[in-house]
């Protein structure tokens, strides 16, 4: 047994939206091709710089305001995913990667084209990559199992029946709004404040709370170095705050409650190794040259 220090725990966040997609219309006047920006009607806070969004036209038309440079196969289609930067006027620029979207340079934005007719669209947050919450100084995750009293007449001891599971917790991180040293690698703590204000699509996120991260062990057993144990949850920010005092670093604190299942996962085996309960080899029905395909990590 060992004693672990909190210095090797970390939090990974994945952006998502709880309430699905938003419908709107891109008008010809909304597209400014020379400045590589466009817009549509959405509430302030609906989209945050760094979001990966999926834009789909609802009438089957192609998204003609995105030039062929914005598509992997250089063919304009009716649905696509990009990272976005939202400027102070609500204008949107599209980017091909997260770090460029956070920086928001016009030169890195995907070129746009003027359109002649309205294009009805739906937009939804479609992030798939979790990113470590930068400068996180503490986190707390509590799980709570409700119990209902089932004591009956004649019983001498109380009996309880377990019912619903819930969770809650808190992040604390030193506030910053952009990571200039490793742009795009970590999620800036400022995102927690933005997340709390997302009234239109909800303040939902996915998170992984690592109890033990890879690359660390307290003992001499090097086999444990790659082990990882973490909680995986979907959560909703219920409260976010930032405090400024002259004699202390600015910290962001965000409280959350979980929604849906809480999973405690472990990755204890060597990567890319298929485990089986038996000690003998795995027989394949196919001919000797057949291959067993593994869905392995990168």
């Amino acid at each position: 047994m060992s004693v672990y220090l909190g210095s090797y725990g970390n939090v990974y966040l994945k952006r998502k939206s709880a309430q699905g997609e938003k419908a709107s219309v891109v008008n010809p006047a909304d597209v400014n091709a020379s400045r590589k920006r466009f817009s549509f009607d959405f509430e302030s806070g609906f989209l945050v710089s760094g979001d990966q969004v999926e834009i789909t036209s609802t009438n089957g038309a192609t998204l003609a305001f995105v030039t062929s440079a914005g598509w992997l196969d250089a063919t304009v289609q009716s649905s696509g995913k990009w990272y976005i930067n939202v400027d102070e006027l609500g204008g949107i620029r599209l980017y091909s990667n997260f770090s460029a979207a956070l920086e928001g340079n016009v030169s890195d934005a995907i070129a746009l084209a003027d359109i002649a007719t309205d294009i009805p669209i739906t937009v939804k947050i479609a992030n798939t990559i979790p990113r470590m919450l930068g400068q996180c100084s503490a986190f707390e995750l509590n799980t709570n199992r409700e119990a209902v009293d089932t004591t009956a007449l004649s019983d001498e001891f109380r009996s309880q029946y377990s019912t619903l599971m819930s969770g809650s917790g808190q992040f604390t991180a030193y506030w910053d709004y952009i990571d200039v040293t490793q742009p795009g690698v970590q999620e800036a703590p400022h995102y927690l404040l933005q997340l709390a204000l997302r009234t239109e699509i909800g303040s939902e996120f996915s998170a992984q709370f690592f109890l033990k991260a890879s690359g660390y062990t307290t003992g001499n057993d090097v086999d444990l170095v790659t082990d990882q144990l973490w909680y995986e949850i979907d959560g909703i920010i219920t409260q976010a705050g930032v405090s400024f005092t002259p004699d202390a670093a600015v910290q962001v604190t965000a409280d959350f409650v979980t929604t849906g299942p809480i999973r405690l996962k472990a990755k204890l085996a060597t990567e890319d190794r298929l485990l089986q309960e038996q000690g003998f080899g795995m027989q394949l029905e196919q001919d000797p040259s057949a291959l067993l395909l593994l869905d392995k990590d990168q």
């Binding site: 409700e146 209902v148 004591t151 009956a152 019983d155 619903l164």
Partner: protein, 144 residues
Amino acid sequence: MAKIYTGRDGSLLFAGTTQAKVTSWSFQADLEVLETTTLGDSQRSYTPGIQGFSGSATLLYYKADDGSIDAGNFLSKVINAGATGVTTSDVVTLTLRLADGADENDIAFSAYITSASIGASVGEITSAQVSFQTTGSLTTASLS
């Protein structure tokens, strides 16, 4: 020996069989009184009329190892698909018991189940609330 009775000492028997998951029962005795006050009297006077008894119980909707539903005996008397409704054959024999070891203080009677309700709520145990109205005299009343 002196004793204070609590829920630990209580039980409910349906046709002589103790129901496993009863969380409460209550029993009420009523007496109608007929006024016999006459002109010239200074105080009202009464004579006893008809007695009646009713009560209620709450049971967990509980399936035992043998597959039987603890509250099912009660529920089936008023929640059933029969076209004839409730008949005299639906009279049940109930015993409300407060026991001190082998010393059993019982109220036993025949009754009709007059209401039954059941529901399901998120995060709560499903229970059934039943009310009953006795018919005839009590068969046992050994509370004293």
